[in-house]
Symmetry: C2
Subunit: 563 residues, 2 copies
Amino acid sequence: MSSNQISREGDEIPAILTIAGSDPSGGAGIQADLKTFTSLKCYGASVITALTAQNTVVVEGVHAVPPSFVEQQLRCVTDDIPIKAIKTGMLFDKGITSSVANALRSTYATSSVPPLVCDPVCVSTSGHTLLQPDAVDTMIHELFPLATVITPNKSEAELLLSRMGHRQRIIGSLEEMITAAEQLLALGPKAILLKGGHLSVTMADLDRVCGQRPELSVEKYGMLGENMEVLLIAQGEMDPAVFELVVDVLQEANKPATLFLRPRLDSTSTHGTGCTLSAALACSLGRGEPVREAVKQAAVYTYQGIATAFPMGHGYGPLNHMHSIVHRSIPLPSLHNPHPFVRLLIEANASVWKQYVEHDFVKQLGRGTLPKECFLHFIKQDYIYLKYYSRAYGLVAAKSPDYDVIASAAEVMMHIVRESRLHKSFCELWGVSPEELEGGPESPACTAYGAYILDMGLQGDSSRLVMALAACLIGYGEVGLWLKREASKPDSWVKLEGNPYVRWIDDYAGEEYQDAVRKGIARIEAMAAADPPSPKRFEEWRLVWEKCTRLEKGFWDMGLSLS
Amino acid sequence: MSSNQISREGDEIPAILTIAGSDPSGGAGIQADLKTFTSLKCYGASVITALTAQNTVVVEGVHAVPPSFVEQQLRCVTDDIPIKAIKTGMLFDKGITSSVANALRSTYATSSVPPLVCDPVCVSTSGHTLLQPDAVDTMIHELFPLATVITPNKSEAELLLSRMGHRQRIIGSLEEMITAAEQLLALGPKAILLKGGHLSVTMADLDRVCGQRPELSVEKYGMLGENMEVLLIAQGEMDPAVFELVVDVLQEANKPATLFLRPRLDSTSTHGTGCTLSAALACSLGRGEPVREAVKQAAVYTYQGIATAFPMGHGYGPLNHMHSIVHRSIPLPSLHNPHPFVRLLIEANASVWKQYVEHDFVKQLGRGTLPKECFLHFIKQDYIYLKYYSRAYGLVAAKSPDYDVIASAAEVMMHIVRESRLHKSFCELWGVSPEELEGGPESPACTAYGAYILDMGLQGDSSRLVMALAACLIGYGEVGLWLKREASKPDSWVKLEGNPYVRWIDDYAGEEYQDAVRKGIARIEAMAAADPPSPKRFEEWRLVWEKCTRLEKGFWDMGLSLS
């Protein structure tokens, strides 16, 4: 495995910076931002502007950080980490706001500031002032001109409009939202996202506005679309026509506005909604998404965070930031662990695996003391087993619409047919006629194993079949290597010289078979890496591996007992 | 969907609190802790004791938070959030250390402090002092007696031993680590985890120590176990016997020590390793794991974070905290979106879906203007199609080792056979003989659809077959509901009165069929929720859905064109 392969995940992980306050209760501020970054698989950095003592009920106090120390934090981060996007949240006072703007301007040429989302946080959900009045103008004049998107809510937009000297300061309708968003563009950012959470809109409002302004486009999410009558009935939901709606307005420079439409959720889990939205927006911008697509992704992430929130605290609870992630069942590969899946399979079934690969049959074979009739019985049954095994590869081909897979299955089948001919000639040397070989009785251990593999091929998809074929391939490779390694030790119990079974050992320890094992292991790892299984699916795979390991042990048992 | 089902994820999410410093560059401190909590799917809260201005190269400065404000943050959190475990990191000075201990003692009765992990952070990886010397005794006397586990590294352990008055202050061997861990227990915690990252140990050291003290137990991770010769060869790895090893020593009160053994990783991505380990340990303790199991889980998580780290910054880079998670392909269900999977399927293929369920054939059928020969051609082909469809349910049974699934498949098969008899009697009424019905030619559109479903049953597991059967079941339900709803509007284009096909419409809009649709939707959602598909697997499912939607449209086309 090359180091390229190891770091592949890192290449897709942009570093995102939040500059904001701290919420110790974890629902808002840099805490919400870092949770959002992590859940969206971005690398998070965070400059803290002010500490709050708050929870889901109340903001009890604020400890502002000295502006010079804010600036020092920011320089430490930007000097070292290649930041792909930035969001600002609570900036608290004039000095901090100014120091953030200064540091950004002096670090980056104006044209090369990473995408910057400014959430003009002024007041908490619980009503606490989070931006002192004299800091608003600083934010407007020093920070906003650097911004890609500003994300005010209704009251923040009204405050900004009033500072801009607009007479119309109250935003009471969808029309006024659109007008306000257009006016706010004059503050210098590339786009305004005016959040409509504090305004109630109906479908009739939307139809009216879109009728008057056909250039507007609409993005809906969180609501049933056309031709979903079955879901409407199944979930017993109201007709969307009578939903109470929330509309966010995105106004980009020189483009018609886009309206983002969703049903209003009746939820108190809204603490940190604005923080989360702007953080998710920074993630999408940091991945290179255009503004409109980034807003859509961020809005959907945030909406889903509210919709799937779990209770926490006694007031306005936090969103569920982790709705977008699930646990990985198989570790990521690394330089020291390039085959995490096969390793996990062996570790999870270590004792059965040991019984299989260090079986008495194998030990007697290594010593050369295995009775000839046991070996011959084993070889005759293996000859029958190989029919099942090659048919299973036929099923692999039958299950795949991919010529590469079909070709490789065909190759394996040809290989097995050749191996069966070797069995035949081998048996003839030992006095077993082709008729006896072909017509001999099939032992239950052989039927069990062969039929189980084919059953897995019937029950599952090709991954299940690959799992069913793995224990045989890899186990015989392990047996071959183990006997060879033991044989190489001084005074070894393994005797190769004069051992009647030395050819068998050489075959499985040899380069040709070992190469097939290595390729098989690589294929299995690639399969699991491309399609990381859920815990349930992993457990299905593991059970197949374990069962085949047991059946392999049963096959050696049969050899010894001549059953 | 009940609200119970919605909040199920929340029930498994414990709230974990970190009390520590902030690292704006994101690799250590509360940032590392919150990333760890999130990646392990715990809810994170964080009380900040001090801000640092640092990056992966250097700690430039520290801004200590007033002790009273630390205490205020802590009270805000514990007053509101049901904390399941706590970790402390950098406490910086005597005042802060004392205020944290005071607040914990006054909030919780001594016996009811949640599991508490104390990481006695004294010096940064880059050599900066993170705990003032006069704070050490405060930590020892006020905080440690409350702790479940203390997690010192070599130099922190040496410092603590010297404060305890021990003569032996240098820990230079595995034996001395074990002795030191025993001695440190006198500080009052339930356990000591003495981290061995700064001490080199060989397998020979381990064998010697375990030989002398057979009561010790050993937990290995990150290294190949027994019977993994194939992996050793495949990854070209050195023999573990010559690895440089790292050993952490866990000493619980009144128990023999456990040694946690791993190979040393040659990596500079170690910034925040201690923070991450103690944070992960708090997560496991917060889930109720016993100390030893919690240490193992935390150690494996941390080791994997280093092993899979990606480059970030110019000095000692951060761990990859996100190695344990993957993106979810299908949103979590919520009250407003109880059927996220089916909704996503319809949304992802909206235009083909619309062409299917609002097909001209359906519209003419609703108007009653569909030519009789078109309808009869359709019904005759549908009769043939139902054979494929019932055989596919036979495959569903063949693919399942579950009697419930077998029974339900048998039920559907019986239902389809009855439906086919209705087709037969229907056709007789319209003048089509049983012979004509049975012997008539099969249209390519019918063969394509029927054989495709069976092919999916051959290629995939039962989930693929379920997907292949879904578009028919759900689409006909949609058609029935749509025609009924349109018919109920004033002056509707749908005419039920005198419509020769009204029985057909009634059948699919009727309660019996709609009940089957609802159950089918619930089954599909349950399947996806129990086994969340990877993006690759989701795309396979989606493609099957899309293909079947197209084939359904082709079936109506055939009806209209009599092809």
